[in-house]
Symmetry: C2
Subunit: 336 residues, 2 copies
DNA sequence: CCCCAGTGTGAAATCGTTCTCAACGCATGA
DNA sequence: TCATGCGTTGAGAACGATTTCACACTGGGG
């Protein structure tokens, strides 16, 4: 079917090794190079990457395992990773785990079988604790989620700081009874919850954090139930864009006026968050930077394998919008 | 580093061929199978996919070339494709072209080099005309965009029908001066424009279609300029979710009341379209079906290579929202 | 007792590259 | 004249699997 290097060699009247050199960067005479190029064009030859990888023992492939590409955070990250990879002449294998530890294990095996050059991974909480650097034949960079062991290069947001910042912001605007919805499957959710709790405590307020599955409908259900309780919160913080969607939908369904009856703030500055009424206050994550930094850490690690591991902590940007406008305390009986 | 099949064979006390058979589905005694499995576990052996692909001449890989994974349509499609692929024991190589014909060519070469089993491709208008089935060593399924030649299996929306449907809907609601913004780089944009023009003509109305680059800012700019013109349209139809974003943003910036001063309708039922005020009328595309159908066509083609090509035309669903509520004609001097 | 079919096994070829090594031609310098 | 070295080339050995082929063993039927 497809021509191989032998066909090219025959047509060019040179040996296979010479063709290989001509196509690579070996020393060949200009004359031969011309002939080989002509033969390549004539035969439509394209090198077989499997053969090349097998022989050279370099896959030029990096793995990218994320929870769900439909989460806009991961969409943007993967785009950045791919761009960087292709620019470096590498390919990307993208896998979605759906936060399922079994699929994580499956895909880690796959990466091993592909003999990837490196892996960028956003593991669930369930697997992250068991990861050991020495179990991998290639460097691993964690993204969005950090392992306690510190064995891996990592790119994360300053999750605690960002959460605390949101709490500060709400308190400053006059809110006191502030609840939080956080993802239960990732360390990121946990960290953001911790930041929220710390922030609340710092203000002498009682935290009320609830952990849920990282899906928009889960957030909507949780919010609906919560807002039906007697002691309804004045504000709710959520830990990602999907929850923002669910929470906003719940508020809408209950006909709550935002921020008068419920203030909303969260993570991920998605395109729609400033188009809804009111616009939503969010922590914007530097998504492209996540991808680029992860690739940078990976390449750095490949260059200097024994260097101490590094954690790049990126900070988010608070974008204040109308969903957290100053609370008018009139309707509350309690004093400040 | 990693153990290979030879190591396993040595440890299990059998030949390499027997190991291969034991791991595959060849006939081996239960005894040997046990030993091999033990040896695999002990050595941590994982087959080398490059070697396997080279020898077996089956890459078990399908290529997926889309314009931009950040476009929610392609996000959903790619998720569906991946799920189907992994379920069939195949991997996916995902590439983003950014609607750049050069990158399309680059990635088509890459697919050839990877010796993919099949390709799912959403090409730009610039390349789609030049595609010839015989130039590929593997089946190609076009998705979202159709080639005139009919040489390829294809999954598309009934673009003309859907566009005309939007026009009908708007006319029914009392709108007459209806403009349209369409993507210039894809046949889909062209088809939707054609459906719009046909729909307008059918109602005896004068179409005004403008073709722009498939990016949200382009739509915003175009809309801002358009709405500043003397003869401002009563309604604008757009051909995808990114344009919807741009158009809505433009209307917002101009402080236009929707639908009183400008009605809006378009394609792609993105999560936010029913959260903004007013909710946006859209044609919903069965995105998961796109991915699944494309995979189905691909597998079908692999099974029966010479069967005539098929085009699966999916129909969209009109979701009526407040952005196209009935026009009150009071403010217009012209008679209907 | 022989033949045959079926089962299980190993040796060796093969996939398409890259890479090592030896060798060639030719110019240069001793 | 001969050794040295450089630039260029080809033969052939890998890489790690699958697959073909031949063969040994078993048991059943003639």
């Amino acid at each position: 079917m497809t021509a191989n290097i032998k066909d090219v060699a025959r047509l060019a009247g040179v040996s296979v090794s010479t063709v290989s050199r001509a196509l690579g960067k070996g020393p060949v005479s200009a004359e031969v190079r011309r002939q080989v190029e002509a033969a390549v064009k004539a035969t439509g030859y394209r090198p077989n990457l499997s053969a090349r990888r097998l022989r050279s023992q370099r896959s030029q492939t990096i793995g990218l395992i994320v929870a769900d590409i439909r989460n806009p955070f991961f969409t943007a990250v993967s785009r950045a990773v791919e761009d960087a990879a292709y620019r470096a002449g590498m390919r990307v294998i993208l896998c979605n785990t759906g936060e399922d530890p079994e699929r994580e294990a499956l895909y880690m095996r796959l990466m091993q079988e592909e003999r990837v050059t490196g892996l960028i991974f956003a593991p669930t909480r369930a697997t992250i604790g068991g990861l050991r650097a020495q179990d991998f034949d290639y460097p691993v960079v964690l993204i969005d989620r950090a392992a306690a062991s510190g064995e891996f290069d990592t790119v994360v947001l300053d999750n605690r700081g960002a959460s605390a910042r949101l709490v500060d912001h709400l308190v400053e605007r006059g809110y006191r009874r502030i609840g939080g919805l956080f993802g239960s499957t990732s360390t990121t959710g946990i960290e953001r919850e911790a930041g929220y709790v710390a922030g609340m405590s710092a203000h002498g307020l009682i935290p009320d954090a609830r952990m849920i599955a990282p899906l928009a409908p889960a957030a909507e259900d949780a919010a609906l139930a919560w807002l039906a309780e007697a002691e309804r919160p004045e504000a709710i913080i959520v830990s990602n864009g999907l929850f923002l969607l669910g929470l906003f939908r719940a508020a809408r369904r209950l006909g709550l006026s935002i921020p008068r009856e419920l203030a909303i703030a969260g993570f991920d500055n998605e395109a729609w968050t400033d188009l809804v009424e009111p616009g939503l206050t969010v922590i914007e994550q530097p998504v492209e930077t996540f991808g680029r930094e992860a690739m940078a850490l990976l390449f750095q690690r490949l260059k200097t394998p024994t260097a101490p591991t590094r954690t790049v902590m990126l900070s988010g940007t608070l974008i204040e919008r109308a969903s957290t406008h100053a609370l008018t305390r009139a309707r509350f009986k309690e004093p400040l």
